[in-house]
């Protein structure tokens, strides 16, 4: 399979992280953006008791939906089909792209306009379409900016959060024909609006993600502020929605609490400008709306997370991004360093299922386990526990590792494991421990000056001249 244009291998995670940390401009804008989003969220939850009750409910709804996921998907499919919406299933991104391209080619589609969809990023849909000469244009302002710059989103809610106003002004002047440099945000947005308007009117297919799918009514719910999601799902003749299999809830009554948690946690809004609930294609007597609506349900490793009781909670996620907004690591390294579609804490726990642990295990180690993510997660995903679990999976002997995660044992080293076993034995047996500390203090001059990762940022460690127990004995 060919690699997309700006694919960044996860393997260079450390290198990219270091580059961001040593860039003071980027540090300042990341800090500013995260402070902004944190403050906005805090204002939305003045009553902690209410927040906790709402989180209880949100967590219960997501856990219930997952516990009943296969039945709910079957009900959803039946209801959507009865409403006239075509449902497609894809195990892999390649399958999902093939389904999309098949629909597009059946209708001789040349142009596609996209509302925001992170699952389409997972699929590298734009790239796949490009290969069959179909133009895909992003219409969310942030996504449009990122696409103009040949980059990828660095945040799941605010894709262009890594860019300053001045950078965007230069980008627009350089890449959009006939545009002069302006750093007025209002003018920049109006330029984007004008360019994209023409594209909406001309596009053959509109694409969107989905925030919640309702099984009992066969309804797709989308939240947004700009109106590009409504445009993409209303103006073109065909609407294709793309989402992961976990996004379903059973009852319409489950939507209001999740919606409230989502928008308040994500951008600190009581509700977004638009909440768009789509239940069918245009009916014969209706005047607008797409004639055909398709839904592509993507697995892409989600069933792997589902199979394990602990890892299943990863799928509770409603993609609000609060975990990254509050993550001290994300705040310093930004979204691109991760090299995965989903950055930040949620990216660390979902990416191993999407891409395998072999290429992603380092992400789980880039955490202090401070727990800020779990504290703000609106559906209470125990992210630190999952990080520890994924570390364990990565570092255990592949011969004895559970089969829960593809690539388990990737980080295993027999030397490291032998050292840990020796360390554990020493600390378990007092005689061994005493002998070890006695030797360590006597032969402290043998301690190496370079101690792997430790001495990158710290002075070398050296055992004390006298053991702690000996010092204590002296005092007594």
């Amino acid at each position: 399979m060919s690699q997309p244009l700006n694919f960044v291998p996860v393997a260079e995670f450390r290198e990219r992280a270091r580059a961001v940390v040593s860039n003071p401009d980027l540090q300042k804008s990341l800090r500013g953006a995260m402070d902004f989003l944190q403050a906005k969220r805090t204002v939305q939850f003045p009553d902690d008791a209410e927040l906790q009750r709402l989180r209880d409910l949100g967590e219960a709804i997501r856990q219930y939906s997952l516990a009943h996921l296969p039945e709910l998907l079957v009900t959803l499919e039946a209801k959507l089909s009865a409403n006239g919406i075509h449902v497609h299933w894809a195990e892999t991104p390649e399958e999902a792209n093939a389904i999309f391209i098949d629909i597009a080619q059946r209708h001789q589609a040349r142009t596609v306009i996209k509302g925001k969809s992170m699952v389409s990023e997972e699929m590298e849909l734009n790239h796949a379409l490009q290969e069959v000469s179909i133009d895909a244009l992003e219409s969310d302002m942030g996504e449009y900016i990122v696409q103009l710059a040949d980059e990828k989103p660095s945040h799941i809610i605010m894709p262009a959060i890594h860019k300053t106003k001045a950078q965007i002004a230069e980008l627009f002047a350089e890449r959009i024909p006939g545009v002069h440099y302006t750093d007025s945000v209002d003018e920049l947005i109006q330029i984007g609006r004008k360019v994209l308007r023409e594209k909406f009117a001309a596009a053959d297919i509109g694409v969107s993600g989905v925030n919640f799918m309702v099984a009992e009514t066969g309804t797709l719910c989308l939240v947004e502020n700009e109106g590009n999601g409504r445009m993409s799902t209303t103006v073109p003749r065909i609407h294709i929605a793309i989402t992961g299999i976990e996004k379903v809830v059973e009852k319409l009554a489950h939507v209001p609490p999740l919606l409230s948690l989502l928008t308040r946690s994500a951008t600190g809004q009581a509700v977004t400008t638009y909440v768009n609930m789509i239940s069918s294609p245009r009916k014969p007597d209706e005047l607008d709306g797409p004639e055909e609506v398709h839904l592509i349900l993507l697995d892409n490793g989600r069933t792997q997370a589902y199979a394990d009781e602990q890892l299943r909670s990863t799928l509770q996620c409603i993609r609000c991004g609060a975990c990254m907004n509050h993550c001290p690591v994300y705040t310093r390294i930004g979204g691109h360093a991760y090299g995965t579609t989903y950055p930040g804490p949620i990216g660390k726990i979902i990416s191993p299922h999407l891409l395998g642990l072999a290429s992603t295990y380092e992400l789980a180690t880039a955490s202090t386990l401070c727990g800020a993510c779990a504290e703000v997660c609106p559906v209470r995903i125990p992210i630190p526990d999952l990080l520890i679990r994924l570390r364990t999976e990565a570092y255990t002997n592949p011969a004895t590792a559970s089969q829960a995660v593809r690539g388990a044992g990737s980080a295993y080293s027999s030397v490291a494991m032998a050292l840990w076993h020796a360390w554990a034995a020493t600390y378990r047996h007092p005689v061994l421990y005493r002998a070890f500390t006695w030797c360590a203090s006597r032969f402290r001059f043998l301690t190496p000056g370079k101690q792997g990762g430790w001495t990158v940022n710290h002075r070398a460690m050296q055992p004390a001249r006298r053991r702690f127990r000996d010092q204590l004995k002296d005092r007594a």
Binding site: R53, S139, R193, T234, Y274
Partner: protein, 220 residues
Amino acid sequence: MSQMTARDKILGRLRAADCKPLPMPDAAAFYAQRLHEDLPTRVERLALNLSNAMAEVHRTTTAELPAALARVIRDKSLPTVAVGPEVLARQSLCDQLQNVCALLPVTTAHTETPALFNQVDAGLTLSHAAIAETGTVVLWCDAQSPRLLSLVPPVHIVVVDTRRTFDTLFALMHQEDWCNGLPTNVVLVSSPSKTADIQQTLAYGAHGPKQLIVMLVEDR
């Protein structure tokens, strides 16, 4: 030869996990604990939340609505206003509005789209209901109420019958049994179109209307 489809394989893997069923979460119990306000208070909350979200709120009565709308259209200089079947059905209202602007009737499929995109100054729609908690207007898009009218023109004017103001989205769904069936499209609108995608700076009129004008109709 029988071949497993992606659907069968995905569902097969999900079923193999053999999850224990969980009790149905009780959203109603959560909302029952919330504040329930009387209608006048709900309407005040609706108006306040909408104004705070940069919507322009005008308060009027059924009898005064045509004059109030005409005044808004004149003051804002909106020479062409697009309307759908729901508004066209109100003959006397249309007659009065035609004194201050040209009404573009949107009555046939797609033929108006280029005009809507290029020539129309405002879209005028009715609404289904309103939600006090979030300052939200509910659009019920069906044959009588085209979807693009509230989206494409630079100004969206919407008429709200304040008797239909609910505490929360949950209350509205619950009292009207939305679970028994929804129209093609329901849209909740809570402000003009906006974005903060450039350096967290709020800008209005991203892709949808730059202005949202809400006519609150209340007969005391």
